[in-house]
């Protein structure tokens, strides 16, 4: 788009290329200086980094965005009477469909389990390798990265963007700025648009959206998410991570000295300083003070100042510095993933090593394994027939005119199959019991439950007075599928007078 070579040549002074490396005058936004109480935002112009981590981040971006945008369009055949969308949160129907799993409202504990897994998984990853979530997969990071790529496409890299912001409003500037913002809004609208497809049949909703037949809530949701995406990804960016997000604060507590974090090897780099091309004066460390690590940082900080709250561990500074080291002929990894403990070990003359297996990682792994096992077990043993029986508490029992005792129950049968089912109802443990079901022409010999539905029956169980020795007796309900013989039992009690 923008001719970068031209732009860079125009801004980079010849003296800055002494070592054959472009020098940057980038300054960290959180410099130690007299700050005012209300700090004005310093705009960050991240330069494009090149290297392994940048490629990894492009890959992660492609995969996460693809998952987000495409998932609602995956079809999954569940037979008649059920939606064929693989992932669908059906609020009116009160179902959550996830491929072969179909979750009813009373089964939200699966969701709880998933959230526990997600949380502990995050703890584990963080204690192993720091803020991996922030650096690679957090939506704030992914979308900001995407928005910066758009910005770079229309306005060029760092130097070009800085220049453009300083220059007067020419036609060229207007169209480049406008194109950037329009593209952002389009992406933002697509982001909000994709969100609503998780809550309704995607092809139908897409059609409704273009013909303006979609429910108002869909448009409101899209508009809201368009606005927030544009605001957070396009404008607020690093401010979200530094000031709004609680996660950086929490993650600080999950790290220990054995966690891998982005580390500038001070012992090797200092004292930093510029040098003539090809020379390595012994009084200087390996850092040539080119500031490239600052220029590429999306958070606008200087990793050489040490661990900072602002650092999202995106590793772009590693890429930048490795590029510089290659050019000046010094070993790579002046900045690298390393642990605080290793820094100390090197300082003490010991060999650096990785301690991945530590009490905290073991505990996290244990919890993850346990929760996974429990979830798998409940999922595998999950039945497509559920019965819930509520005993009447008021009145506890009723004496009938012939002296027999009657108890009332509400029997709820949940049929999770996509076909109508018929059941029989019987009781066990009460001599002389008889069953009556409220409603015309409903008998215990045939209870019908519609496909994927819950049916509730009022059931009266009566028994002669003398079949009760005590004022209460254990009673077991047997509900049997007439077609395939599946049986569910439910234990309740039968009560009578003292």
């Amino acid at each position: 788009m923008v001719d970068q070579a031209v732009v860079q040549d125009a801004t980079a002074k010849p003296a800055d290329k002494r070592e054959g490396v472009e020098r940057s005058d980038a300054e960290p936004v959180n410099k130690k200086e007299r700050r005012s109480l209300y700090q004005k935002r310093i705009k960050i112009y991240p330069r494009l980094a090149r290297g392994g981590f940048r490629r990894l981040k492009w890959g992660v971006m492609a995969v996460t965005l693809a998952i987000y945008y495409l998932t609602p369009w995956i079809r999954w055949d569940r037979g008649p009477n059920a939606p064929d969308q693989a992932v669908l949160i059906d609020f009116p129907g009160r179902r959550f469909y996830f491929f072969f799993i179909e979750i009813w409202p009373q089964e939200v504990y699966y969701l709880t389990g998933l959230l526990i897994l997600a949380a502990i998984g995050l703890f584990l990853v963080t204690s192993l390798a720091g803020r991996v979530w922030c650096g690679y997969t957090c939506p704030q990071t992914v979308w900001t990265d995407l928005f910066i790529a758009v910005e770079r496409f229309f306005q060029g890299d760092r130097a070009s963007r800085i220049r453009m912001d300083k220059m007067p409003w020419t036609g060229n500037k207007v169209w480049r700025k406008a194109a950037t913002h329009v593209t952002w809004v389009v992406i933002a609208a697509g982001t909000g648009g994709a969100w609503v497809f998780y809550f309704a049949d995607a092809p139908t909703l897409a059609q409704q959206l273009v013909t303006f037949d979609a429910p108002a809530v869909a448009y409101v949701t899209i508009a809201t998410l368009t606005f927030t995406t544009y605001l957070l990804g396009g404008l607020a960016r690093e401010q979200v991570c530094t000031y709004m997000c609680p996660w950086p604060r929490i993650q600080g507590g999950l790290l220990d000295e054995e966690s891998l974090v982005i580390t500038y090897h001070e012992d090797r780099g200092e004292p930093r300083g510029a040098r003539k091309k090809g020379t390595h004066p012994t009084e200087l460390g390996d850092c040539i003070d080119c500031n490239q690590c600052v220029a590429v940082c999306p958070m606008g900080i200087d990793i050489r100042d040490g661990q900072q709250l602002e650092c999202i561990t995106c590793a772009l500074c590693i890429d930048a510095c490795n590029g510089v080291m290659d050019k000046v002929g010094l070993p790579r990894n002046l900045i690298s993933y390393d642990t605080l403990a290793n820094v100390e070990r090197v300082r003490a003359g010991e060999k650096p090593r990785l301690r991945l297996i530590r009490p905290r990682t073991l505990i996290y792994t244990g919890i993850i394994a346990l929760v996974t096992l429990i979830m798998l077990f409940t999922l595998v043993t999950r039945s497509d027939l559920d019965v819930n029986i509520l005993r009447d508490r008021n009145p506890l029992f009723v004496t009938l005119s012939d002296g027999s005792i009657r108890n009332g129950y509400t029997v709820k049968i949940i049929n999770k199959q996509h076909a109508e089912r018929h059941f029989t109802l019987a009781v066990e443990g009460l001599p002389g019991a008889s069953i009556d079901i409220v409603g015309n022409d409903v008998t215990a010999a045939d209870l019908q439950v519609d496909p994927d539905d819950l049916e509730s029956y009022r059931v009266f169980v009566s028994a002669p007075r003398d079949s009760l020795e005590d004022d209460s007796l254990d009673l077991r309900f047997l509900i049997t599928d007439k077609a395939d013989g599946t049986r569910v039992t439910y234990d309740s009690v039968f009560r009578g007078p003292k």
Partner: protein, 289 residues
């Protein structure tokens, strides 16, 4: 206010000047946009005071320029709910009791509506679960003094029992003791006989004596076999259910002084559809005939 700012050496940040056990609090800079956001919320609050009801006055409050009222909103919501119910209420008004019970949708609606009307109007005497208590019949059982069909229940709710309505269900059992129709011993004998009808007499000889008096004085209403008569509101004396208690003392009391419980007529107090729903609800409690 010229006090010297103290700068923390490590972070380069100003401190607040507060110190606890050597720990100093940093005055970390707030982003300026945050400050502006704060001002914006203040402005929002000011605008809110003008637009919405906000300040209490002595006997009223500032109404706000758009005239919003949460009371009105509630009224609207209620009206909407009522409009939604109207569809069913209209059908219930048109339908006979029999038709309501045979229509699953109407039955569900009537049971829910009748249940809430019962809780408000009837539970004071009959109890929340309609299990009644001494003198107030249990509506869950299969024993009905004035009949347990849908029609009979409907009639009872409409006009009441010994109420002030012209159509009320009415009967009067003589106070055999108080009015000196029977003497004390005879009352005891009849009580023994009545208890014997459900197999719980204590004195067979007295019961034998009582049977003759029963045939003379009581059989007209309660029937020769004591099974009662729903047309007259005469309770069945042979079953296990006693409205005023089944001990001998209770039965003696009933015979000597009579009992005449009273239930109000609900026509005029509740509308026709509510009474229909109540009848359906009571009928569905488990004893409906």
């Amino acid at each position: 206010m010229a006090h010297d700012k103290e700068i923390d050496q490590v972070s380069g940040t100003e401190t607040t000047g507060h110190e606890w056990d050597g720990i100093k609090e940093l005055n970390t800079p707030l982003p300026r946009w945050w400050l502006w956001t704060f001002y914006a919320t203040c402005l929002w609050a000011l605008a809110y005071w003008v637009v919405m009801p906000a300040w209490p006055l002595v006997s009223s409050y500032t109404k706000g320029v758009i005239g919003y009222s949460s009371r009105e909103q509630l009224a609207n919501t209620m009206a909407e709910a009522r409009a939604a119910q109207a569809v069913y209420l209209d059908r219930i008004e048109q339908a006979s009791l029999e038709e309501i019970v045979n229509d699953r949708e109407l039955l569900d609606f009537a049971q829910a509506g009748g249940g809430s009307a019962f809780a408000v109007n009837c539970s004071q005497c009959h109890g929340l679960g309609a299990a009644g208590s001494t003198g107030f019949p249990n509506l869950n059982d299969d024993n009905w003094i004035w009949g347990g069909t849908l029609e009979a229940i409907h009639q009872t709710i409409l006009y009441g029992i010994r109420s002030d309505h012209d159509e009320t269900r009415f009967n009067e059992m003589p106070a055999f003791g108080r009015d000196e129709i029977l003497d004390r011993e005879q009352v005891g004998d009849v009580a023994e006989y009545v208890l014997s009808l459900s197999g719980s007499e204590t004195d067979p000889a007295a019961a034998q004596r009582g049977s003759e008096i029963f045939a003379e004085q009581c059989a007209a209403c309660h029937g020769e076999d004591g099974t009662g008569n729903q047309d007259l509101g005469a309770p069945n004396l042979t079953d296990a259910i006693w409205l005023y208690g089944g001990d001998k003392a209770d039965v003696v009391q009933t015979i000597a002084n009579s009992r005449s419980g009273m239930m109000p007529a609900w026509t005029g107090r509740l509308d026709e559809t509510t009474i229909k729903q109540l009848a359906v609800y009571v009928h569905s409690l488990g004893g409906g005939e």
